[in-house]
Symmetry: C2
Subunit: 120 residues, 2 copies
């Protein structure tokens, strides 16, 4: 699968919180370096850890509406930016903006390395 | 100037906190979207605002030792990751990890869009 097609399918599965669909697109030894955590960030390796990492991030960003920008591709690498808009009834609008650095191997994702703008 | 050469010179000037050297490498209408601020992040446009933005970020990360990874280039774009290690006498080691998305036009940088891992 091309990196372009792979990322389009990943974005759709992410928006639907479809963990099995996400894992289908990752190599067995894939690394997910999440944008939030104490390392700073938090690193998950292999499908079992990835599944836990994806679920933790979905919980962290529950109630967010995801807007994903068009990725930029560079050989086995890609980069894509995104905005999470949090819709809170009667509260102020809040958003988080971030970026993913991707690496591909044999038609699948072997690295998703995520970062955010820091609101302070 | 090639994007590769441009980024190498930018990295050297950044490590030396050389604002004039940084501005020489940016187009007149360049945008610096800093990783920290209330938007979230904070956006600076044009040399006058860029100079203020660079100085504010140097102050934010004073006492950090900067480690910059090798950038990945993709036509007019590049992406590079970095670590700031804060050395505090008698205190615990702390680091910040981040990424810059770069865009180039006519041999200069027209966008530096920065993000960090969030420690929480």
């Amino acid at each position: 699968m091309s990196p372009h097609r792979c990322l389009a399918r990943f974005a759709a599965a992410w928006a639907e919180r479809d963990v099995a669909g996400l894992l289908d697109l990752m190599t067995d030894d894939a690394v997910y370096a999440a944008s939030v955590g104490p390392e700073p960030g938090r690193t998950f390796r292999g499908h079992l850890e990835l599944a836990g990492g994806f679920r933790a991030m979905f919980e962290h960003d529950a109630d967010a509406v995801i807007e994903q920008d068009e990725p930029v591709f560079m050989g086995d690498w890609a980069v894509s930016t995104w905005t999470y808009r949090f819709v809170v009834a009667d509260g102020p609008q809040r958003c988080e903006r971030g970026i993913d650095l991707w690496r591909f191997r044999e038609g699948k994702i072997c690295l998703k390395d995520a970062y955010r703008k820091v609101d302070r």
